[in-house]
Amino acid sequence: MIQSIHPLIITIGILFVVVNTAALLIWLERRLLALWQDRYGPNRVGPFGLLQVLADMIKIFTKEDWVPPFADKPVFILAPAVIVVAVLMSFAVIPFSPDIWVVDLNIGLLFFLAMSSMGVYSVVLAGWASNNKYSLLGGMRAAAQMLSYEVFMGLSLMGVVMMAGSFNLREIVETQKGMWFFIPQIFGLVVFMVAGIAETHRLPFDLPEAESELVAGYHSEYSGMKFGMFFVGEYLGVTLISAFITTLFFGGWLGPSFLPPIVWFILKTFVFICFFILLRASLPRPRYDQLMAYGWKVMLPLALANLIVTGGIILAIG
Amino acid sequence: MATIYIDNKPFEVADDQNLLQAVLSLGLNLPYFCWHPALGSVGACRQCAIKQFRDEEDSRGKIVMACMTPVNSKSLIPPLNETRISVDDEEAEHFRESVIEWLMVNHPHDCPVCDEGGSCHLQDMTVMTGHNYRRYRFKKRTHRNQYLGPFINHEMNRCIACYRCVRFYRDYGGGDDLSVMASRGEVYFGRFEDGVLESEFSGNLVEVCPTGVFTDKTYKEHYTRKWDLQTAPSICLHCSLGCNTIPGERYGEIRTILSRYNGEVNGYFLCDRGRFGYGFVNSGRRIRQPLIRNDAGGLESSTPEAVGDKLASFLSNGAKMIGIGSPRASLEANFALRTLVGADRFYNGMSADDSRLVASAIRILQEGPARTPTLREVESADAVFVLGEDLTNTAPRLDLAVKQSVRRKPIERAAMLRIPEWDDASVRELVQDEKGPFFIATPNPTKLDNIATQTYRATPDDLARLGFAVAHALDPAAPSVTDLPDDVAQLADSIAQALKESKRPLVISGTSCASEAVMRAAANVAWALCQDERAGEVYFVVPECNSTGVRLMAERDVDAAIEAVQANEADTVIVLENDLYRRAAGTSVDTLLDTAEHVIAIDHQTHRTTEKAEAVLPAGTFAESDGTFVSSEGRAQRFYQVFVSNGDEQESWRWLQELMGAAGQLEAPAWENLDDITAGLAQAYPIFEAIPKIAPPAGFRVVGQKIPRQSPRHSGRTSVLADVNVSEPKPPADSDSPFSFSMEGYTGAPPSALISRFWSPGWNSPQAINKFQIEVGGHLHGGDPGRRLIEPSDDAKPEYLNDVPASFKPRDGELLIMPLYHIFGSDELSILAPAVAERSPQPYLALNPNAAASLQVRDGEVVEITLDGVAQRLPAKISPELPEGTAGLPVGLPGLCGVTLPAWSRVKK
């Protein structure tokens, strides 16, 4: 009985924790941004303003959920769901600790890459279905940006795969017992992180929704919880990328034994989430052509070079 | 034309001007004070300093006053080969700044409480020269002010001694009770003692004075800045001349009237009746809601819908309607009434006399060779013969024009001495008190007598005989007058001689004597002058602002309407903007109003006719409606709605259109705006064919924009009505004109007929008019607005008019009561303005000393006369020059209106 119910509990538990993390991130981001800008941020609702999240949820759920008459209705409704589903699916392959995982796929990493490419559909469909020039422009930008950065996102991880000799994430973590991969794969880490920001279209790479040029880009026409879904999707994406950085480059759950492995995992992920927010607080948005040039002319060669060097060294060492 | 170089750029300018005129005509900015386009140059203020150079090599130049330097440098002593000046020269600029600084030494710290602020020439010029700080540390001289009557406020501290006021008041306007006193820095412009300014043109001091010494006292009662006024082009309706005005509105009240420059009509000036007579628009006697007679017999306020239903109940039941129009309503309103009742049931609303006389004037002008001059042309007539018209009181602005024409002949000498006409001081020095030929023949003394060559006092019949005699003397073919006394025959000869010798003779007559013979005589004189290629001109003054227009529409008068009702041809009378008690004897109007089953009155003021009506509909005044008036010159001019009032008032023609609906007239035209109705008017009357073209249509736009009635600086848009409701209402829409009731729209210069304010960057005072003229003091860009409907036929050679009346015979025991007109008082509407009412006389009876002696009355004693069967007791006033056997009674004063004059009456003590 316990045996059969255990995966279910874990699945539901992870789903619960992950979704709540995304929600809490809204509060966290606002507090951290405020901190870095010498302000307070939301601090009036509940202790430390924690209930701000609740207030925001109530607000967003009770807002008018409006579908523009000129929109392509089925697609318009479907689009926000796609991003949340795609991101949540990726969490399935993450080994949170030696005992907590949902599924132990031996092609876990490929599954993650596949799922993260799904995210682009959400954005493109939303932009298309809105039937609005700003939304469409946002959607097109998103498509180009995500497709471009996906290429070397995959490539940047191949070094890790080569060193671990496996696509299975548990095995990748296990192989890091001697040395976390961020040391040999520092370039892989940099490329993956940049690609991760671009994939989640977080600042400074939020060109698909650049509010100073495109109103709100692909989600200009969205309101209520549909808009909330995009929001949650974005924060889930942040959590996901942070979790992957932890898993792939920082030894996942590994750590001194005075803390249980899951805590190590959470701590490491938390640090990267904060780093994502710090990036938002400090960096300006590049121009679109700069973004593309940066991807194709800097990141792609860097990822390829990293791959060749890693391959060469592994070959040499045998 | 001459080429002049201004700051090394060549310009083509007319060479009979001075440099200031040339520079301003070119649209350049040059400060000035004492110069005024209508007054000429005296070179007193030293403000228009520029630098003049001998030739291209001359780099030093010398400072000259632009207003005193002719464009034509060959006439200078010593002559120069070319005219080369600099306006932007540093030294000249510094000079001008210093002049302003001196002028401002004594100028008080008053601008915030000064009525001139915001339309002040001194402010504009100070800003233009760049002076901004008073360095002079000593004390300012001060003056005490004078009481100058109900029109003009005096604040002498502000004076900069430019002398424009006395130059206008005395030299141009012919007044003599305003002058300069004291000396040097202490000169004082005022009267010898406190008192009402006597001139009928004192209001122009407000616009002539470059600063706030003379300001509009009626405006001060409800003062608002010029930029806050909502303005639209309008036409004065207080006499027949059709002067162009700009009424200004704020908070639903007309606040002031400014002159609207029209190079053909009034130019820069208005008379005081036109300027200060606007009070009736704000008067407590306005009808603001529809009134309906209740069962108790009183009039009570109602709603437009309720009144509409009530009217529909009898109008749609086959009522036999007649419509009585009005010479003070627009052509459009009269036409709407005519459309409602049918052409054969429309009456022109004039008294029988007026209708007959105005018709006579129109006929003479249409059929004869003599043309009627514009007011500007009157100023250049060099011999004037006034027959039977007291111009100062019946057509005041014409009086001012005639005052200029008497200078024409003497000024010709200036040309011989090579003194340019703009050199006002020199010309006046040369001319002194010399006057050109100017003859006045009227029943009673006029204020122009003192500048007339000769005057003649007689009854209308004798005036006509003089006129016929003059015509006969000019052209023996004209009918002769028998039994003329020697002195009159001699006078006729000398008048004929003077007229013959002049280049532009002018005869002025009109309806105020109520004598057709006088007008015929005037026509004969003018026609006799049209011999040998010379253009004799004749001007007929008619009673009201639209008398000519409405007489062109219908010939039947109020008396005919009374007969129609008495003959039971009609049971419903619709009276449009007309107090019938001013048109016919009280008893017969009583009969009309009592006999008719239903009387519907449309008007904006309560008067005896509206009090007797069954239903009264609130009409908009000239300021609340659009329309067209035809002036005595025959000029059709459009006036535009200035503001939308809060009440139920609307244009009379809109009410009449609603009445058409109430009467169930299915074939009623679907007029949607003023253009539709003017189009109908043009179709119905060939003579009004040009009416739709006198101003741009309602759809007219400049670069896709309407023309704003408010200045771009209009203030308080979000606050004026905030006490009622904090959410601002939408501004009213205007479907009738190219104007908007807001500050949104095209801010540049519109076509001349649509100029709603004179303003140009840096020119906030009325001096901004310069920027709208082709040449300063000349015509407006695009031609002066309005269009003349009556021109003489080219090859007209009508027979001279005959029937010379017999000489006047005094009757025993009876006196012929002559109408006496008063600029303040005789007009129905202007007297409702409190300031004008203050200047209007109390009712009196003028008697000549012989009559007074035989009645044994002294000045001020009460006498009784009986007119139209009604006895009146009035104080007597001895008037030495009244012809024997006549007496004079003021026309139109409240309590005296509604008697037909002239009439014989027994006068008792």
């Binding site: 901190l35 307070y40 710090l278 | 604040e155 040097r184 800045r225 908070y251 308080g716 979000t718």
Partner: protein, 171 residues
Amino acid sequence: MISLLRSIWLVFLHMFRKRVTIQYPDEKPNLPPRWRGRIVLTQDPDGEERCVACYLCAVACPVDCIALQATEDNHGRRYPDFFRINFSRCIFCGFCEDACPTYAIQLTPDFEMAEYNRQSLVYEKEDLLINGPGKYPDYNFYRFAGMSIGGKDKGEAENEDPPVDVHSLMP
């Protein structure tokens, strides 16, 4: 690249700075006297209304939220018959104060004027007048103006000679 890292680092260091937020309404801000808040109409040192109804504030107002009407007392002193500010439109730019030639209209350090009903934001003269001279304690416009008002005849203002006797011909 270095500059990016440097800015990330500098932003990170802000974590240890003092926060500038003032916790209004628990903590009241200390506003400078020239703060542009609620508009008042002041009185001159003699306790008379300073406003002379010159309309300059109204015309200076970029949102046209000031409306007034000038009137005069029996001695020629000008004052506003009514004076209305629609604070629901006011943007507190202070142009009216700049334009005022008599220091009558002044902006004060009070911004707590929120209302539930927009109509309550329309202030009439009685709501605007305060019992004092505001920031400029000494100025009295009529002591400098040339007009005579009750209690001050011609020639009695600052820096004025007594009125000219026009009958005198003395040089």
